[in-house]
Symmetry: C2
Subunit: 282 residues, 2 copies
């Protein structure tokens, strides 16, 4: 496994691989890896001759009052895990390498970036779009793997790749969960014992919503209330949003018809957790 | 010379060239080619083993009341000129090929896109950024050549490439002029005889501004007034803007210090003409 810290080294490495006609599957991460990330890496190994992983806590996707500084980091452990997974190249750039100047270019998504997670984090997806565009142009992968856990992100990245014709296929991999249902997240490490114990209510709530849909419920307000109430029943959890929206364009329709995503953000103390599941009526 | 009309054919062609280790210099155009474009093509021939030219009248960079429909087109003549210049590949996509869906992604430039030409054309540079990003990802050139005639465009494209780490070098080539000084432009073909006769006043005005700077004038309002008055003296020309701004960030400073660009847009009847020159005090 090669550790690459600069863009020019990444390009040189990529160029060697291109000469050897080796395809690249890429998993961008912010590090502090868990089983969810590793499942993406395993999927990447199936898709490419070589696997690249980036570890970069991207400052432009954090708002001014968010948890950039307390976002967990453990590079040594991350590298050891990736080595065990057979990763070929790990790209770990510094902030100065990625942002030598204040960026002038901004990426918008016609308002889709202000829905769901964008309600509380209005600049988040512009930052995600920027860094993913940069990483695509640095790594030049044949395929990039994202987690369904960040559903809105995966949808917007698909649009980024399609609308800008990035020569990369976008693969979205299922959410990996703890045995009690809690979606794997680097932020789970920030939870107190009490918060950790309460957190699986988020997934239980989503399952209750899904069961309602499967039992015939079509009113999105009712579905959201069912989800909300399961979470709100846990005193240490505060729902931030509960949405039942079209899985393709995130539109909130009063009566659901096609596939929907049930999506939740909740606070446990100062930690913000998100989760979602897809469900099709009938 | 190969004519390519689809993105998949362009990618296949590019892939052959990559296998043959042939570098690509790229000139994106909207067609109706003139000596200015051909000078970019000649520069591209110096810079790459192969030269790609795109011809695409990009709808997303025209506003609703602009001249998209009357923008001049002559593909047969364009192809003949490019063949004579030794171009390797011409990419001529349809609107449906480039925009199969309404794009969701938008490119912003932190407000630089609303200065100069962006005052009258507020959505223009978002459209330019989008199509250039798409073309970079389709053609994957090693170097792309733009004209200084569109100074603001060249500046924003440099930022697009830098901020998004596109693996392409940006080359900006000098403006080519008619013997009477008028900057070459496809829009010159829209001018009446009387307008064509008056149009060189734009370049004369810029030269008067430059001469004032070289003679020691440092007050940007005075420099702009000198330029404005030469254009306004021609009854068929209406100045739209006259700016004297920092050449690197387009900032309007009351007193000039470093390199500035003197930039003009003027209407001749219904045709909008632009031009600029760079000048450094002392």
């Amino acid at each position: 496994m090669r550790l690459v810290r600069t863009i020019s080294d990444a390009r040189a490495r990529r160029s060697e691989q291109r000469t050897a006609a080796r395809s690249v599957a890429f998993v961008p991460t912010m590090g502090y890896l868990h089983e969810g990330h590793l499942s993406l890496v395993r999927r990447a190994r199936q898709l490419g001759d070589t696997v690249w992983v980036s570890i970069f806590v991207n400052p432009t996707q954090f708002g001014p009052d968010e948890d950039l500084d307390r976002y967990p980091r453990d590079l040594e452990r991350d590298l050891s895990l990736l080595e065990q997974e057979g990763v070929t190249t790990v790209f770990v750039p510094s902030n100065a390498e990625m942002y030598p100047d204040e960026p002038v270019v901004g990426i918008g998504f016609s308002g889709l970036e202000r829905l769901l997670c964008g309600e509380d984090r209005p600049t988040h997806f512009a930052g995600v779009g920027l860094v993913v565009g940069k990483l695509f142009n640095i790594v030049e992968p044949d395929v990039a793997v994202f987690g369904q856990k960040d559903y809105q992100q995966s949808l917007l990245i698909r649009r980024l790749a399609a609308d800008l014709n990035f020569p990369v296929a976008i693969e979205v991999s299922p959410t990996v969960r703890e045995p009690d249902g809690l979606a794997m997240s680097s932020r789970n490490a920030m939870l107190s014992d009490e918060e950790r114990e309460a957190a699986p209510a988020i997934y239980r709530a989503l399952c209750a919503g899904r069961n309602a849909v499967l039992a015939g419920e079509r009113d999105s307000t009712t579905i959201c209330r069912i989800i909300h109430d399961v979470i709100a029943a846990e005193p240490v959890l505060t729902p931030q949003y509960v949405h039942c929206v079209d899985a393709h364009n995130l539109a909130e329709n009063p009566t659901i018809s096609g596939e929907v995503v049930l999506a939740v953000a909740a606070r446990a103390g100062t930690t913000r957790l998100i989760d979602n599941i897809l469900v099709s009526p009938s």
